[in-house]
């Protein structure tokens, strides 16, 4: 597919990297020549220097033959204008990043009337992610397949857990619980474990199960599963506003600590049910006074990454039972951050990129690829994909144990007639199934890609 990306900031470059890796023709547009040059040196993409909203520049980037234009510059208005012009000039799909809350309330109108395929708001996306995590506090990440019938959950094995030193093959028999462990992250290595793999403390485990089985499993390993009752949020940014709104709607109590008095008043105005405290969230005394001991979740959403990380570290050190989430805008030091004992880090920009990539995949799906859903896990080192099985798929009607699968790939589950099958060696894939595959090879496009190629790769 031919995709034009306007704006080479964090989101733009992440998108360019991922989408070109997946075999799309990418043209990037940015006014900063150096960015364009660096990016097009690093990936197999073409760069145009200029303003993305100029018709001439878009034409130079080949708008007539493009399938999709993604506008992710820093300015909402510029993004919308880019999309409008692209729509007229090339009749392609358009995606715009629009982050201001004023526009957000009219997102639907904007999307429909301006003919955009997708409007994405990074703050809203991040807050949705956080809200989902708070609903499911023991998992670090939750993704759903088959319209919510299957969940892929990630959690970190706590100290003294029953899972410590347990072999993967023993889990089902010992715990009498049918879950499939599909990936284990230890340090910065991602392993797709076989039966003999032994779990250890602090491993991050990803597993696939139905929601019921998942909560059963969490109960068996003695991890609490109920949704949190209340949340303490430090920092009153736009993300906070979106998050508080969602949490309140879910019946979760919200307390917001914000430094700036005017901002507090604005928040109090728009969130009458929330408890707004004006004060410095980095003061330990203040946090305690506001009942840090009693809450069961803590979200650090200030504008300073370091502050967020330190705050969450402080809280999880004092009260290990509190679920802590920190927002981090630049994740350059991923490796180090992951070593810290933080429950979860949320990065609005990667989430935005992930949403857009998901859309592109879906769009490609209608053209030829068979990927229904795609999730990227563990810093893009692992992918979980849901495939539709169509006619002529090379995997049809063969017992799984006879399939010659690629390395580092696992068929996590099969969904047949809305029923979930945990695949065993004798199971077969038949027409109309949906299959969830977990792999560390990225860039799969079709179910046939799960087979090892004949060249013996």
């Amino acid at each position: 597919m031919k995709i034009i990306i306007v704006g080479c900031g964090k989101v733009g470059s992440t998108l360019a990297a991922q989408l070109s890796e997946e075999g799309n023709d990418i043209v990037i547009i940015d006014q900063r020549e150096e960015r364009v040059r660096n990016l097009s040196n690093e990936y197999d993409i073409m760069g145009v220097v200029g303003s993305g909203s100029s018709h001439g520049v878009q034409e130079e980037a080949g708008i007539e033959s493009a399938d999709l234009l993604i506008a992710v510059t820093g300015s909402d208005e510029l993004n919308l204008l880019c999309c409008l012009i692209a729509k007229k000039a090339g009749n392609c799909h358009t995606i715009a990043r629009v982050r201001s809350p004023e526009y957000n309330q009219e997102a639907r109108f904007i999307q429909e009337e301006l003919g955009l395929a997708m409007v994405i708001n990074p703050e809203l996306a991040a807050s949705a992610e956080i809200a989902r995590l708070l609903r499911f506090p023991s998992a670090i990440k939750v993704e759903t397949f088959a319209k919510g019938r299957i969940e892929l959950l990630q959690f970190r094995i706590g100290p003294h857990s029953v899972l410590h030193n347990m072999q993967v093959s023993k889990i089902t028999s010992t715990l009498r619980c049918d879950v499939l462990i599909c990936a284990v992250t230890r340090g910065d290595q991602v392993v797709i474990p076989d039966g003999n793999f032994t779990l250890q403390e602090y491993d991050i485990v990803s597993f696939v199960a139905s929601p019921k089985k998942a909560s059963q499993f969490f109960r068996k390993i003695r991890v609490q599963t109920n949704q949190v009752k209340d949340a303490l949020i430090v920092g009153g940014s736009t993300t906070t506003y979106y998050l508080a709104k969602q949490l309140l709607a879910m019946g979760i109590g919200v307390k917001i600590v914000e430094r700036d008095r005017n901002r507090c008043e604005v928040l109090s105005d728009s969130l009458p049910e929330a408890n707004i405290v004006c004060g410095d969230g980095t003061e330990q005394h203040l946090l305690r006074e506001e009942g840090l001991e009693q809450v069961d979740s803590f979200v650090a959403l200030t504008d300073v990454d370091e502050e967020n990380i330190l705050l969450s570290l402080y809280v999880s050190d004092l009260f290990p039972n509190i679920k802590t989430i920190a927002k981090v805008n630049s994740v350059t030091f991923n490796r180090i951050i992951e070593k810290l004992n933080l429950d979860r880090i949320v990065d609005p920009k990667s989430i935005t990129a992930e949403y857009i990539v998901r859309y592109v995949r879906a769009m490609k799906n209608s053209i030829g690829s068979n990927v229904e859903t795609l999730y990227r896990l563990v810093n893009n080192k692992m992918e979980a994909l849901e495939f539709n099985i169509r006619e002529n798929a090379p995997v049809l009607n063969t017992p799984l144990e006879n399939l010659h699968l690629r390395k580092n790939l696992l068929i996590a589950c099969i969904i047949r007639n809305r029923k979930l099958i945990m695949p065993r060696g004798q199971d077969q894939i038949i027409l109309g199934d949906k299959v969830v595959v977990v792999t560390t090879n990225t860039g799969l496009n079709d179910i046939s890609d799960i087979l090892a190629e004949h060249r013996g790769e």
Binding site: S20, D25, E33, D44, G443
Partner: protein
Amino acid sequence: MILNILSWASVLEAVFFLFPALVAVIYGEQVLWIYLFCAFLCAALGLLLRLLRPRENTMYAKEGFFAVALCWILFSALGAVPFVLTKEIPNYVNALFETVSGFTTTGASILSRVEDLSHASLFWRSFTHWVGGMGILVFILAILPGKGNGSNVHLMRAESPGYSVSKLVPKIRQTALILYAIYFGMTLAEILLLIICKMPVFDAITLSLGTAGTGGFGVRSDSIASYTALQQNIITVFMILFGVNFNFYYLMIIRKFRSAFGISEVKVYLVIIVAAIALITWDINALFPSLGDALHHAAFQVGSIITTTGFATTDFNLWPSFSKTILVVLMFIGACAGSTGGGIKVSRIMLLVKGIKNELAVSAHPRSVRKVKMDGHSLSPEIIRSVNSYFALYIIIFAFSLLIVSLNEMDLTTNFTAVAATLNNIGPGLAVVGPTGNFADFSVVSKLVLIFDMLAGRLELLPILMLFIPPSWKR
């Protein structure tokens, strides 16, 4: 990664050796076995290199330069083997000179009578022009299986001529394919036209390969002189066409005529050609029976020299001094960036002139702010800087080469034009190395220096030079 590229290169050369082998079959020549043996040798070497698994797969700018430089050296070293084995050029340095001259599309020869060569070897000489014209690595990029890593652009940048190499389409592989498709199509057109004009098939093919790469190896000692005027005119037109920036043709194909004709480099290139032809015609008119004749020869020589092809229809060594000087100036200007020709390139000259103009204006009005513009885009100071340093480097290399070559005790014209003809990938110079002469009389050292010049000229100085600077070997 570099090893990986090199292994691909030798396998590729093995495939290329099959073409002269085929020619040998057609003409029933004994050299068939030698070419087959060489093909086998290259294939074996390629597979051997493949066994050394690369540790790292990333190609940075530096690895790109190294890979390109080593690849060209390897290609030339292997390509010279058949000449030695067939005993047509028994001396390896001479054979290497001939092959490098082929791959770099120079066309400078050490042979006095090319008719003595077998058809297979003649074909191989011309074929090296064709391969070298568009580039070995561009070819590898076009056929290399698997997903193109983005950093492969460093390879293309290091090999393709011009100050800024841009892709035609987002994917580098497609870009390479498009370039080769245009190249192949134009070569085929020339072959067909020449055959229609009653040129022998073998001559038509080899000359077309030589024209396409802007090389200049002919199959007769008098170069092109013994063909008919019509055939010569066809070659003139195609030489000039192959000296045009290939972006021009791509824009024509996708029907963006306005942007195609908007490329100012192409316009300047054509203006220079017309002006040079006019001046030379006026100057040499007395030597030829009619004005038409003078025009015909002037056009051929100008086209041949500015595109750095190096064919000749007449011995321009005997022309008046003014015409010879014009030709020497054209040698340095060279063809367009993004074409198969050599030289400094028209666009670089344009930038140099514009830079100087700005510099003058700023000296007169110290507070004025000016940007250098080309085709409506303003250029960053880095580009101007790189063009300036390219030019400086060019002069330094030129001076040193001239110094070493002058140890041969030949006259200054010979030495000067020999270096100019090799560094600009033209072929024939003036005096001893003129269209009827050859490079055989130079000493071994001079030949090695000229070999270096040819490679440096073809790869735009930096890649080859980097190989000789030890600090750049380290990471």
